[in-house]
């Protein structure tokens, strides 16, 4: 039976959501997420998805509706991007604090101002402290598969934490590829509906989203922290079990691509990992010992995996579509923090690229590898942060 469908990233994700069968979907449109919510409406129309499809009036209400629906025990889904994600920020903390296993797609897009609808990761990376698990995908197939995995992770009783599945705006959301559709029966087995332990039950009433003063607050927060730490195992388990059922695996929290003997490694996340992989192959063919470490999640942060995989490399470059103004790329900070606990830390270099949708070409990545190899060999104290293809005069660091 042919289960291949030609789909954009948004559509692939919607196909994954249909297979996951959320009982409530709260939808509000924002570019470049719109195709996902349009397709889901089509599925409701053609009867292939049975769900309460809610037409909410804002992203704040989209997440609030998911909070209400999840609190009442239903599997939920919503999707957003950029300003929408920022508008629902308050509700992100809310959902994670009361441990609602909501799954959300975020189409990574630049944040205003200046206005820009194209892809970068400043939206989701600015939300690392909201208590959400954050997953990033490389292509449409991974988007489809990961949103299914997301429910298994979120609803794991040891986790019970919302999950955000991030895919790059336009580069992924609007790019078509052939995706393989898993069998519904197997997906049902992979993510059976669960009775949430924290749901409001009409026969056994409770209060939820409560107040906890100084005497209790730390304990609630500690448990929340433990849950996300526990999700590391759940993410790896979800990927292994997915492979057993569907024959595809993404490495769990990270993908190690030719890093074991590499002396120069680029760490990145999202669609640019695909381009980087090709550049690694090209450079390997020329004899360079280079590798790619793809981050599939940034919360929880795969600290141990990074230490193990990057620990023997001479130099590590972090390529990210983000800048935390006044410091450096947010991912760079995370990677440095993890590596700083090694006895001998590799040298690290930060590439800020792809802001507002600027293309990151193979050549850009090749030059990035060349730069870090030179930087690794250079003992001078040079700057280690660079805006790739900066078109204006550089100021002193």
């Amino acid at each position: 039976m042919n289960n291949k469908i030609f789909a954009s990233g948004d559509e692939a994700l919607a196909l994954g959501v249909r297979l996951a069968k959320p009982q409530v979907i709260a939808a509000y449109p924002i570019t470049p997420q719109t195709i996902t919510v349009e397709r889901l409406a089509d599925y409701v129309e053609d009867g292939s998805l049975k769900t309460e499809y809610m037409y909410v009036e804002s992203e704040h209400s989209a997440m609030a509706a998911c909070i209400g629906a999840s609190a009442m025990g239903a599997r939920t889904f919503t999707a957003t991007s950029s300003q929408g994600l920022l508008y629902m920020c308050e509700c992100l903390h809310y959902a994670s604090g009361s441990r609602f296993p909501i799954v959300m797609m975020n189409a990574n897009r630049s944040t205003a101002t200046p206005w820009n609808i194209y892809g970068d990761q400043r939206d989701s990376l600015s939300q690392l402290d909201t208590g959400w698990i954050q997953l990033y995908v490389e292509n449409g197939q991974e988007a489809l598969d990961t949103v299914i995995q997301a429910y298994r992770i979120a609803e794991n009783p040891e986790v019970m934490t919302p999950v955000m599945v991030n895919l790059d705006g336009f580069v992924l959301t609007h790019t078509y590829e052939l995706v393989d559709l898993p069998e519904q029966a197997s997906v049902d087995k992979y993510i059976p509906y669960k009775d949430y332990p924290n749901k409001m039950d009409l026969d056994n009433p409770m209060s939820t989203c409560i107040t906890a003063g100084p005497a209790w607050n730390t304990e609630f927060r500690y448990q929340q922290h433990c849950a996300i730490m526990n999700s590391a195992e759940a993410i790896n388990e979800a990927d292994k079990e997915f492979e057993a059922l569907f024959g595809r695996s993404y490495g769990g929290m990270v993908e190690n691509y030719l890093c074991d003997d590499a002396n120069a490694i680029i760490v990145t996340l999202g669609s640019v990992a695909g381009t980087t992989r090709i550049v690694v192959d090209d450079l390997r063919a020329k004899g360079y010992k280079v590798g790619l470490l793809k981050l599939r999640c940034i919360r929880p942060f795969p600290k141990d995996e990074l230490k193990k995989i990057l620990g023997n490399s001479k130099v590590v470059g972090v390529l990210e579509k983000d800048i935390s103004f006044g410091y450096e790329g947010a991912v760079f900070t995370e990677v440095n923090s993890a590596l700083s606990t090694l006895d001998k830390m590799p040298k690290t270099y930060n590439f800020i690229a792809g802001l507002g949708g600027r293309n990151i070409s193979k050549n850009d990545i090749k030059e990035a590898f060349e730069k870090i190899i030179a930087y690794g060999n250079n003992n001078e104290n040079a700057s280690n942060l660079e805006f790739v293809k900066l078109g204006c005069e550089e100021y002193g660091n």
């Binding site: 009982q23 804002s58 009442m72 009433p205 107040t211 906890a212």
Partner: protein
């Protein structure tokens, strides 16, 4: 048989909380839950009632209850409803209890959305005419002339200078299934309308005039009396919107004294004769419209 003060249940679903003496908001929740029953999911945004009712580990609701984000009372209600529908649950009521600020200011967008979706929820606005939980600041439902902690009664600021947003008619403009105004000073009318809201096939909205002795500067045993007097002097009215029509439920022949009503509350103690004249003019204009359009 309709629920009234004599036959209403003795079962309490909101008790043991830390609200002030004479709090009409807590009375509103108490009465409402007596009408709606144990299979209610109460949605109470950050306000006095959630502050006094959900302090871990001391929970005070006898039914399911949730604090939604401040701006999202009605959106969380909609989500609960969608969830219950999706799971095929039966015999339940989703009821929100938001204050005047939580309704007419920060919660208005979500409320509008829920009514637009025609969700069968009951949204109760307990209107104590200011942000009481944060220490008595002006809201969109604070009446003209009110002294609050951010509208002081001095030379440059003479209390709150805007008049109350008309929430009841804003709800009617959505062509909501059922909307009503009530006052805790007229409990029989209030219970009757709560029951109508409970049985309405679509969204319903009840706007409760709910005195706050702490914020208004009156004795805590005068809540009911003040609630009644507000209606009697014409500064509040009892009305319904149903099947696209307005109905006035109480049409006083003569109003009691506005000045007596205002002067016993310290929030109005600074008002002079000109202010009271202005308030009287506003009242008369309002009642002219009400009598012209809502009395058949």
């Amino acid at each position: 048989m309709a629920i009234n003060a004599r036959n209403m249940t003795n079962k309490e679903l909101f008790y043991g909380h830390k609200a002030c003496g004479g709090c009409a908001a807590s009375l509103t929740i108490r009465w409402t839950l007596k009408v709606f029953g144990e299979r209610t999911i109460a949605v109470v945004p950050p306000n006095c009632m959630s502050t006094v009712g959900f302090i871990f580990p001391h929970m005070t609701f006898g039914c399911n209850a949730i604090i939604p984000p401040f701006a999202a009372t009605a959106a969380v209600m909609s989500g609960i409803l969608a969830s219950a529908k999706a799971q095929g649950l039966e015999d339940y009521h989703v009821v929100g209890f938001a204050g005047d600020g939580g309704t007419a200011d920060i919660g208005l967008q979500a409320l509008s959305g829920a009514i637009d979706r025609n969700d069968k929820i009951t949204y109760i606005c307990y209107d104590n005419e200011a942000y009481m939980n944060t220490g008595i600041q002006k809201s969109g439902l604070t009446p003209y002339g009110t002294k609050t902690t951010n509208t002081p009664a001095g030379k440059n600021i003479h209390g709150s200078m805007s008049s109350k947003k008309n929430m009841f008619e804003i709800m009617a403009a959505h062509d909501i299934t059922y909307a009503a105004t009530v006052s805790v000073g007229y409990p029989e009318d209030m219970l009757k309308k709560l029951e109508k809201a409970k049985n309405a096939p679509g969204p319903s909205y009840i706007h409760v005039f709910a005195p706050c002795p702490t914020g208004w500067g009156v004795e805590s045993d005068t809540t009911i009396e003040i609630g009644k007097e507000a209606v009697d002097c014409g500064l509040w009215y009892l009305a319904e919107y149903e099947n696209g029509e307005f109905t006035l439920n109480k049409n006083p022949k003569d109003f009691s004294s506005i000045e007596d009503y205002l002067k016993k509350q310290s929030r109005f103690s600074h008002l002079d004769a000109a202010d009271i004249d202005e308030i009287t003019v506003q009242r008369d204009k309002k009642w002219e419209k009400i009598r012209k359009n809502w009395v058949r």
